[in-house]
């Protein structure tokens, strides 16, 4: 079978044949060239970028800390500091200015008291966990653009901060799944022999296991935590990636360039990581894109059942849940979260499909 397939890095790029001078434009640029032609894929990528921006800058969009303020003679940027703190290790880069550091400090009440001070507030001046008790389950109003939930928290603020969680779910679970999947698939595909048999068996067992039940069981029986769901989804979601990687490696390991590298005395590690992995990554990326959608889909479902990322952390799933529990009085809770879940799943499906077409040699006209 491998003999019938084209040498991937050269032939997938049709322009190579015309320009005999100059360096190959590279596989990834070829993929990007084909990807860019698909409007739906570009729309998906655009929405993804938007989601990432909302996720990263959630503190500037919604929160009870001012973006910039002058309080007691000092100019500080609490919400920007909070954003920096989202970067791992960010706490050491820039520490939160003093009064804003204390949870009991109510910036929204204290800052305006300072006559000589000023403040720029986020667009939605509510913290996702800040309660506004008189307005429980209130509908849309000027103070709460999307209304409030059952304890009086601002829904729009929770929706914005839930975006961060959704993106974390996607990146962490898919990061774990991709790492395990790539390694397992590469080992099985490249080494063959008993390693392949063992890994293929494990994959088969994972395919038969009802993953949703197992995730539920593991979540229920372990200590709660924000990242736990993401890790568990990742640990149980790597088999698809491993299967694709294995298939790619089986195909690629007998290609001329891999054989050439081996003839030159390259070690297995070098062949796997320098030569084969970069060329098998694009088809795997398609699976990862769909997996991203799947992870958010599963987490929202688990949140809906009450087993996802733990409350009070906002997630689209638990907002939908509180809408369900108060369906007759507060239908305004179900639509924003439904739309967010739908749009995100759709976005990653669009990206995955466009990526599949862009990496399929039959469709890019180079086969």
């Amino acid at each position: 079978m491998p003999s019938g397939t084209p040498a991937v890095p050269v032939d997938r790029n049709p322009e190579m044949k015309q320009s005999s001078v100059g360096q190959s434009k590279g596989y990834w640029r070829g993929v990007w060239k084909h990807y860019r032609r698909r409007r739906s894929g570009m729309i998906g990528l655009g929405i993804f970028a938007l989601l990432l921006i909302v996720a990263f800058f959630s503190n500037l969009l919604a929160g009870s800390l001012p973006i910039a303020c002058r309080y007691k003679g000092e100019v500080t940027f609490p919400a920007i500091v909070a954003t920096v703190h989202k970067i791992p290790g960010g706490e050491h880069l820039w520490s939160m200015p003093k009064p804003f550091r204390f949870p009991q400090f109510d910036a929204k009440r204290e800052v305006p008291k300072d006559a000589s001070g000023w403040a720029i507030w986020p667009l939605v001046p509510w913290d996702p966990n800040e309660v506004d008790p008189p307005n429980r389950l209130a509908g849309r109003s000027d103070a709460h653009l999307l209304g409030t939930d059952e304890v009086g928290r601002d829904v729009l603020s929770r929706m914005i901060h839930a975006t961060t969680i959704a993106m974390l779910v996607g990146f962490i679970s898919m990061g774990i799944a991709t790492t395990i999947g790539l390694v397992a698939g590469a080992v099985a595909g490249y080494l063959g022999a008993w390693e392949d048999i063992a890994i293929s068996r494990v994959i088969e067992v994972f395919i038969c296991i009802p993953v949703f039940y197992v995730i539920l069981i593991v979540l229920l029986l372990t200590e709660p935590g924000i990242y736990k769901v993401m890790v568990v989804i990742g640990i149980f979601g790597w088999t698809g990636i491993a299967r694709y990687t294995r298939g790619e490696f089986l195909k690629l390991k007998n290609m001329e360039y891999a054989l050439a590298a081996r003839a030159l005395g390259a070690t297995s590690n070098r062949i796997i990581f320098r030569h084969l992995l970069p060329n098998s990554l694009a088809p795997v990326l398609v699976v990862v894109a769909f997996g991203f959608a799947g992870a958010i889909f599963v987490e929202s479902g688990l949140s809906w059942l009450g087993f996802g990322v733990m409350p009070p952390t906002p997630t689209w799933g638990n907002i939908l849940r509180s809408g369900w529990e108060n369906l007759r009085v507060a239908p305004h809770l179900i639509f924003p979260s439904s739309i967010a879940i739908f749009v995100t799943v759709l976005t990653f499906n669009l990206i995955g499909d466009a990526l599949r077409d862009a990496t399929d040699p039959r469709l890019t006209g180079s086969a």
Binding site: I209, V214, I217, L221, T222, S300, W324
Partner: protein, 325 residues
């Protein structure tokens, strides 16, 4: 063929055994069990400890894990999945009791889904690139991205609560037994409507595009041109010659659909308060009912294996070119 099936069954049994060991150990290694849960309500720590000890003894939770597994396994070989910790009733009985609700839903969903998806897919393929093809394509693509629980919540809100058109709790109304035959059918139909739709729409969306793609691929082949060239009506070419050749991928798809329908129904069954297997398993998991947990995993895994095997057998039956000698 016979040897092939036998070999597959043996491998399947080994896989199932592996799964059972894996999940059994996983469950027992987790902190907290049914005894520690029963303890929660008791204030006196001494009484609580005695209580927990008694429960552990009763369910043999004080034995080492391999011994517990041995006991569970030898019972399972005799067709006994133990008794539920919640009400002491045999797990097998509880499953049999819940099976009709889930199986009827799954059957209905598969039949309706295929009945809608195949004609739609054929129509899309025949009218490739027409406004109908493009329109339904975009619509189904979007539809497919709506998670079933999201769809369920929205439909329940509009159709169930707002317009009060259809019931959405359970399988029958109160006083179902007093209804006449027509009334019973009507009542069941009304209760089935929403949950069946939520169960089915995604597979209609997927399968119609799937059928379309397969049919388009077949329509490009030489024998179709031959059929057209010898003057057969287009209808016969599409339905008799081309469509039959798209059966095989559909069969595989069906094989993977059935287990998903039976075990993948947790959220929908919880939403619609459906007396099915998904909810039984969910409630079992929530109350740390080990026998139910194990049964849930084993039943679902077996269904997946059987689904794959049936698809492979159907493969050989539908396409004489495939043989597993």
């Amino acid at each position: 063929m016979g040897t092939y099936i036998l070999r597959r069954l043996i491998i399947g049994a080994i896989t199932l055994w592996g799964i059972s060991v894996l999940v059994f150990v996983l469950i027992r290694m987790m902190p907290g069990d049914v005894a520690s849960m029963a303890q929660l309500g008791i204030e006196d720590p001494k009484a609580a400890a005695v209580m927990a000890e008694r429960i552990r003894k009763q369910y043999h939770l004080d034995e080492p894990i391999p011994v517990q597994y041995g006991m569970w396994f030898s019972d399972v070989l005799r067709g006994d999945f133990g008794s539920s910790y919640q009400d002491g009733r045999p797990v097998v009985g509880k499953i049999v009791e819940r099976l009709p609700a889930t199986a009827s839903l799954a059957t209905l969903s598969v039949l309706l889904g295929l009945a809608a998806a195949i004609p739609l897919g054929i129509l899309q393929a025949v009218k490739q690139d027409s406004w109908f093809d493009r329109g339904t394509g975009v619509f189904f693509y979007a539809l497919y991205a709506i998670p079933s629980y999201v769809m369920a919540v929205i439909l329940v809100y509009w159709i169930g609560v707002q317009w009060d058109l259809l019931p959405f709790r359970g399988m029958t109304s109160d006083g179902f037994d007093q209804l006449g035959l027509v009334g019973k059918v009507k009542d069941l139909g009304a209760h089935f409507a929403l949950i069946t739709f939520c169960f089915t729409y995604a597979s209609v969306a997927f399968d119609s595009r799937f059928a379309r793609g397969n049919l388009l691929e077949v329509l490009r082949q030489d024998f179709v041109r031959t059929a057209r060239a010898k003057g057969l009506p287009e209808r016969t070419v599409v339905l008799k010659h081309a469509f039959r050749n798209t059966f095989i991928p559909l069969l595989t798809r069906l094989g993977s659909l059935i287990p998903h329908l039976i075990s993948g129904s947790v959220i929908l069954e919880v939403i619609f308060n459906w007396p099915g297997l998904g909810r039984l398993f969910f409630e079992g998991i929530v109350s740390r009912d080990y026998p139910i947990m194990m049964a849930a995993i084993m039943v679902s895994s077996t269904l997946v294996l059987v689904g794959i095997l049936l698809a492979d057998i159907a493969y050989a039956w539908a396409d004489p070119r495939i043989s597993y000698a």
